[in-house]
Amino acid sequence: MEKIYDLVILGAGPAGLSAGIYGGRSRLATLIIEQGKDGGQIAITSSIENYPGQMLTGETGATLIARMTEQARLFGAERRSDTIKELRLREPVKRLIGNYEEYLARSVIVATGAQHRPIGCINEEKFIGKGISFCATCDALFFEQMEVYVVGGGDAAVEEAVYLAKFARSVTIIHRRNELRAAQSIQDKAFATPNIHFMWESIVVEVGGDELLSTIIVKNVKTGELTTLHADLSDGFFGLFGFLGLLPNTELLAGSLDLDAKGYVKTDENMHTNIPGVFAAGDLRTKVLRQVVTAAADGAIAANEAQHYLADL
């Protein structure tokens, strides 16, 4: 007979691993399934400064997550690397169908997180890794002494623009409004950086180039005017970094769980979804503050609620 887990957790970011720690520690037969690398978005974050109790120097997303992974393992949470392609959540024993195996669970925590929002311009897919990037820490070095454009106006966009300006010859922030949304302290850093420039009230509509990115067509949202930016001939290419916020990884859930208009999972404050025994934790959930610390808290609450749910079965 197939093993029926007490708790299956989808996703091994801070929310999923925290749920795994609490689930394992409560002696629930717990399984964590992750399709990629542990940590999700945080795994590519170069510096963590605001997770309480972290190492005060040299903490990266990867080092923090490595300890969470180990902690979940020590409490006995099992692990699988698999991609779930179908969920049957309504029955008392829930079925998760993966590429490699099927998993049975009495309760489920979905913690699949969110990913970067695409720029949304023509030819975007074709130039990812060929000039378009969503990861400054990964790719900044390719643009040493080159021209770089950054799309967005929030904390991440402006913070990463300041980081990129250490490498690039010039960084231009393309923003759809006429002012930034980023925290004032971050804005101050950007305005004080001499090689950061701004294109206000503008959006990127199309990109192009011969293998590597060398043209960007920008539209002024007020006047509708189109401007084509060309890479300097001696450079041959330039960079375009997108930091336009998040897109929840909830496609798989759309048929079964209640989502809000932006696709985030609706829960109550105790992480309950509309289906009994199914909980959501972390960035994929409708909430105000999406941080490692709030994801970890969600995971703890969700695992605790799952335990109560199982006790009442």
Binding site: C135, C138, D139
Partner: protein, 106 residues
């Protein structure tokens, strides 16, 4: 796993008489670091005289990477006769997808 650099890339990769998987990584690329142990395991498991594995630190070979049309990390590429015949890049470069790609060439 063989570490290549800008001096040895041509001989080891472009002129290789066999297929070769290249792990393009870089300093400060956490996604690359996360993938590296998996790639070492794949090299152990699938490496042969017909399919070799190597890694290139693009931070020390930026122009070389750009000449290979690489501007984003991580990239795991399969080379044959001096050309990239298949690759997994960025979000596509997951352990699962890289293994599936490599299995096509063993």
């Amino acid at each position: 796993m063989l570490e290549v650099d800008k001096l040895t890339f041509e001989a080891e990769v472009l002129k290789a008489p066999h297929k070769i998987v290249v792990d393009f990584y870089g300093d400060g690329c956490v996604a690359c670091e996360a993938l590296m142990p998996k790639l070492h395991a794949l090299a152990e498991q699938y490496g042969s005289a017909n399919l070799k594995f190597c890694a290139l630190n693009t931070s020390k070979a930026r122009r070389l990477a750009i000449s290979q049309k690489i501007l984003g990390l991580p990239v795991i590429a399969v080379y044959e006769n001096g050309r990239i015949i298949d690759s997994c890049a960025k979000d596509e470069a997951t352990a699962e997808k890289v293994e599936a790609m490599i299995k096509k060439y063993i």
